[in-house]
């Protein structure tokens, strides 16, 4: 590829990821409130704009203009830096996710993927894990007991669910034989969706994904009824908003990864396939919201029980069986 074409493509990709997905993150907050309201027989946001559509804008203005409070007893630099880590690592992780199939525009093949590395999926998962430094540092630097508890919960949750994500992805990867997300996608064109071969891995991956993005059944880090607001207690204004942008972008990454690994991704890459790809991704975003409406959250000890006594043994057994099948 020509160098100038490469630079322009990368710039376009970066702008799309930063622009579209941070906007989508905002829009998802609106979707979330509407879906929750629908499931709980309420109306949700209705007053600002038609069907409350401009609520996102109003929230944005509110977050940006709110007073930015930095507590005196906090460790200032780390306190200010912590909220940046989560969205930054989420956007960097997106560099490894193909968010659309290859497109032909004006005779130039445009690949909507910044790095097609041969360790693609590991890169995405690793960068997502780096994002967990954000609540941890926020909790430790706030100088507040609730925040500290939130930070401590981050440490346990990350250490336990990293294991589950890694082990659950391993079994499908053994079948595919490559770490590149493009290769995983191409494998499924010939062999059918991987969910039919790896149903257990799919459920484990989804559960671990919910825990890593800190979504409802596992939102121990900031559960209001127990630890006020966890790591985010001392944050206000846009610093608080950054945590949420990061969380929602991470949700999109998990949805994209689930579709790519288990649901055939974008297949052969025709226009219809591209649309189906996005439709599948949005179904998984919807599933995130649905779960939030339907499920109560777990206690920390139940979470540990679930991780180490149920999910991890299941994942290991799954790998052993897959290994035997691949070998014989």
């Amino acid at each position: 590829m020509e160098l100038d074409v490469f630079i322009i493509q990368t710039l376009i990709n970066v702008l799309i990821i930063l622009g579209v997905f941070s906007a989508l993150a905002g829009f998802t907050t609106y979707l979330e409130r509407k879906v929750l309201a629908f499931m709980q027989r309420r109306l949700g946001p209705m007053y600002v704009g038609p069907y409350g559509l401009l609520q996102v804008l109003a929230d944005g203005i509110k977050l940006f203009t709110k007073e930015d409070i930095v507590p005196t007893n906090s460790i200032q630099t780390v306190f200010k830096l912590a909220p940046v880590i989560l969205p930054a690592s989420a956007f960097i992780a997106f560099a490894g996710v193909p968010f659309l199939p290859d497109m032909e525009i004006f005779g130039v093949t445009f690949q909507p993927l910044i790095v097609d590395s041969n360790a693609g999926i590991l890169f995405v998962l690793g960068m997502m894990a780096v994002g967990m430094f954000s609540p941890l540092l926020a909790g430790l630097s706030s100088g507040n007991k609730w925040s500290l508890l939130g930070g401590a919960r981050t440490a346990i949750q990350l250490l336990s669910f990293e294991v589950i994500t890694g082990l659950s992805v391993l079994a499908p990867l053994m079948l595919v034989g490559s770490l590149s997300l493009i290769d995983i996608n191409n494998y499924q064109i010939e062999n059918g969706w991987l969910i039919w071969q790896q149903p257990i891995a799919f459920f484990l991956f989804l559960i671990a994904g919910y825990a890593e993005t800190n979504r409802t059944p596992f939102d121990l880090l900031e559960h209001e009824a127990e630890v006020v607001s966890g790591y985010a207690t001392e944050y206000s204004g846009m610093r608080w908003g950054l945590f949420f942008i990061g969380e929602y972008v991470n949700m999109y990454i998990v949805a994209f990864l689930t579709v790519l690994i288990f649901f055939g991704g974008f297949g052969e890459g025709t226009f219809v396939d591209g649309l189906l790809y996005l439709a599948k991704v949005f179904f998984f975003i919807f599933l995130f919201l649905w779960t939030r409406a339907a499920w109560p959250h777990l206690r920390p000890d139940q979470l540990m029980w679930l991780t180490w006594k149920v999910l991890m043994p299941l994942a290991v057994v799954n790998i052993v069986i897959t290994g035997l099948v691949v070998m014989f």
């Binding site: 360790a119 998962l125 690793g126 430094f133 500290l148 990350l158 250490l159 990293e162 770490l179």
Partner: protein
């Protein structure tokens, strides 16, 4: 050109991060810059086309440093500065001398051009495959020994932490009082 710019940026950031780790008095600054430095080092691996090792660097050190944070949380109040007990001049000079020695020992082979790549990257084969080949043929024994060591450490950990695991901690205290 991109490689040169990236190399110098990453080296500068790495050195800066670790300098902060060594010089700061605050536990939280030290831990955070350590984590940052460890993650920035992965940039070097990516520059050398060793994607797999770069990613492994990120994943392993994220987990490892988070475990360190957990210890820091248990043992220190992270909002207060740590007062060093050993601040003598001899101590300082010895530290500097030994680190200079270490740097010399590691860089002299490179300066004399005696370093060769034993396992260069194969075109068309992923990093993961390359690493796997070397790990499971030439370095099989160290690999297995490391695995056994980890197993021993894990069993030890379980036994140390697992006393009275079948009883509820709150109930034990109530009975004693």
């Amino acid at each position: 050109m991109f490689e040169t710019i990236a190399f110098y940026t990453f080296s500068f950031l790495t050195i800066l991060a670790f300098a902060i780790t060594v010089t700061t008095k605050n536990v939280l600054y030290a831990m955070s810059s350590l984590a940052g430095g460890m993650i920035i080092i992965s940039g070097m691996f990516f520059l050398l086309n060793a994607d797999f090792l770069g990613v492994v660097q990120i994943i392993v050190y994220t987990g490892a440093v988070i475990a360190l944070y957990a210890f820091a949380m248990i043992f220190f109040d992270s909002t207060k500065d740590i007062v060093e007990t050993k601040t003598g001049k001899t101590f300082f000079i010895l530290t500097v001398l030994s680190s200079v020695m270490l740097v010399l020992i590691l860089t002299i082979p490179m300066a004399s051009g005696q370093v060769e790549a034993l396992y260069p990257i194969h075109e068309g084969v992923g990093n993961a495959q390359d690493v796997g080949m070397v790990l499971f043929t030439k370095y099989l024994v160290p690999f297995e020994v490391a695995a056994v060591m980890l197993l021993v450490a894990m069993i030890g950990g379980i036994i140390m932490a697992g006393k009275k695991m079948d009883k509820n901690l709150t109930e034990i205290k109530e009975n004693e009082e």
